[in-house]
């Protein structure tokens, strides 16, 4: 009787092992319900399986091993968290570093700008009677040529646009070779009535115009400020930095009239000085 149920015997073991699903499982269960022989096979197989399973050794991993593995898991988890935060931390560090560099750069720039203005004022205060000009000429070309052979940068007079406009109230007196930042620099002197106007020129590698009241004109940024009785205007143009010192007020387009005769175009067609 059981012999003809050999196939069912295999199926019954699959049923016990929970390897049968769907219709196959339903059909077998239905058959077992109607077959005493298969019921007996099922009971025997279940009893055997339970007997074996009940003999499962209660093996316990050593506590030290468990602790070691748990430690590794924790460390790995922490590393994962660290790995997650690492890019953010790196970005933050980068931003901090950039901030520090920019701050230092800004401070150095400010410092150099201040020292450049201070140097310009100091040179301005030296009167012609104390120290004569090295080159005396009202010709911008002559003065420029003289400085061109004595300074390490490409000296240029701000001799275009309003600076050389025939409406200028000032005249070029000449220039004097001075030192700024350990390098030769050009000090250009203008005269206007009873006032002296000096212009310190150096490479933008040694000084940068910054601070003060900013006025945009002719594509340039003019930084105007007052230091005591003196008025200061600084600007950068084509690798050079200029500091104009005068007792005459500057700092706005309207102040152009201080040094230039009024003209309908004077405040609207300021050309970029070179």
């Amino acid at each position: 009787m059981i012999k003809i149920h050999d196939d069912y015997g295999v199926m019954i073991q699959l049923l016990i092992d929970d390897e049968l699903t769907g219709q196959e499982r339903e059909d077998l269960i239905s058959h077992i319900n109607d077959c005493a022989g298969c019921q007996k096979v099922l009971e025997e197989a279940q009893a055997f399986s339970e007997r074996v399973r009940s003999a499962r050794p209660q093996v316990e991993a050593p506590a030290a091993l468990r602790e070691k593995i748990l430690g590794n898991i924790t460390n790995s988890s922490n590393r994962s968290v660290r790995a997650y935060w690492r890019p953010l931390a790196a970005a933050a560090m980068f931003l901090v570093a950039v901030g520090v560099v920019l701050s230092i750069s800004y401070l150095r720039q400010e410092s150099r700008a201040m020292s450049f203005v201070e140097a310009a004022i100091a040179e301005h205060r030296i009167s012609s009677s104390d120290r004569s000009l090295d080159v005396e000429s009202s010709s911008p070309e002559v003065v420029a040529a003289w400085f061109a052979q004595r300074v390490s940068f490409s000296f240029r007079m701000p001799n275009e646009g309003i600076a050389t406009d025939d409406r200028a109230k000032y005249t070029l007196a000449g220039g004097r070779l001075v030192t700024f930042g350990g390098q030769p620099a050009a000090l250009v002197e203008f005269r206007m009535q009873n006032n002296r106007i000096t212009l310190l020129v150096t490479s933008d590698k040694l000084a940068t115009a910054t601070g003060g009241k900013v006025t945009l004109s002719g594509g340039l940024r003019f930084h105007a400020s007052d230091l005591g009785e003196l008025h200061v205007a600084t600007w950068n143009n084509k690798d050079l930095t200029y500091a104009l010192i005068s007792a005459v007020a500057m700092g706005s387009s309207r102040s152009c009239s201080s040094c230039h005769r009024d003209s309908p175009a004077a405040t609207t067609t300021m050309k970029s000085p070179t």
Partner: protein, 188 residues
């Protein structure tokens, strides 16, 4: 079939630690050496941690751990150039002392029931191949497919091997019962 998912990074508080006893038992069965078994389990978790990103959601984590452990053990055997000590035939090699429950330390915690000793003794007399498939199915309750993955063989092979292992185990248990009866009679 149980299906487990790993918690994501930072949340893997357990990371399969609940299987450590089962893995240790399996390692004892494979290595027959407590120190080697510990090393094997430790290496299993280390590899699992490294490879957790490769674990596919929906897969069985327990089976995955067993697969890793067995692969490490196989590699170790290859490196030793002795090959894994798996016997294909349902011979009598090995013995009760090869079962995890029969190692000196684990014996202290062995269930003292007579039946358990008898069954464990019988399993210990099975071939390594049969012992392995019985352990994975009856003790660890892995599915045929999970066992097939661990053993790297078709599920059909698992089914037939399991059938032969059970048949052999039944035979051994009957023999052992007969011997006990005979020894009982002789002692009277």
């Amino acid at each position: 079939m149980m299906s487990h998912k790993f918690a994501r990074n930072g949340e893997q508080k357990g990371f399969g630690i609940e299987y450590i006893n089962a893995l240790y038992g399996y390692a004892l069965m494979l290595t027959r050496n407590k120190v080697e078994a510990e090393d094997l389990v430790q290496e299993t978790y280390a590899r699992a941690l490294e490879a957790q990103h490769r674990f596919r959601d929906g897969s069985n984590i327990k089976g995955w751990f067993f697969t890793i452990l067995r692969n490490i053990w196989l590699n170790q055997m290859r490196h030793r150039k002795s090959g894994p000590h798996i016997v294909d035939a349902d011979g009598e090699e090995g013995g009760a002392d090869l079962l995890p429950g029969h190692t000196r330390n684990s014996q202290e915690i062995l269930i003292s029931k007579e039946n358990a000793e008898q069954v464990q003794s019988a399993i210990g007399r099975l071939s390594a191949e049969f012992r392995e498939v019985i352990l994975l199915r009856e003790f660890e309750e892995l599915s045929y497919q999970e066992i097939a993955t661990v053993l790297n063989c078709p599920a059909g092979t698992v089914m037939s091997r399991l059938g032969r292992a059970r048949a052999k185990l039944r035979t051994l248990l009957v023999e052992m019962s007969g011997q006990r009866l005979n020894s009982g009679k002789a002692s009277r």
